[in-house]
Symmetry: C2
Subunit: 124 residues, 2 copies
Amino acid sequence: MVEPDFKKGGGLVPVIVQDYKTRDVLMLAYINIEAWKRTLDTGKATYWSRSRNTLWVKGETSGHFQIIREIRVDCDDDTVLFMVEQLGDVACHRGYRSCFYRKITDDGVEIIGKPVKNPEDIYK
Amino acid sequence: MVEPDFKKGGGLVPVIVQDYKTRDVLMLAYINIEAWKRTLDTGKATYWSRSRNTLWVKGETSGHFQIIREIRVDCDDDTVLFMVEQLGDVACHRGYRSCFYRKITDDGVEIIGKPVKNPEDIYK
């Protein structure tokens, strides 16, 4: 099985997550070898949660699973790109389509778009 | 000035770089506070090279500068998205448009597309 270079990052590799239809960048997460294997085996994006120190099937609580459509690796084998179908159309725990819902302006930060869902409704 | 949370990652923040026209994900790089300020000041993507331990203006050798069109920050302030105009149409040091020019298949890895330039011609 092909695998990214987990040694460089102390066992973790960053994953860029992109919506395969809209091509929006949705989020950045991390995988270890176990999360990599689970993702390939199940076809559902599985990450390593650095805050909770545990495997994390994206969507296990919210139902907003990410179905893998294509996986790419970068030229140095140390970053991965998941191109996914985002169930529920919400990747961000704050209810937005993408975690990158804020843009830098000369005056500070501007929120782009509206939340698709209320975070309280996602995690009830 | 708004800035990402550099403390979390020991002074570094990952940057996803996306072509603002094609919406292709081009690469992942890292910034420190200095690279962040330089990027905002100059409008050209500037990173921190972890291998060379130095500020790195993308394109300074190849001429393939990345002109900033929009900058976004994620919900946790610990990842940044640069949406850029990629000069020379080449982001990867191997001559490809994107560093993510390889896709995972059941049999291993498949190269997508052809290099736009010969790497030897880029860095001569």
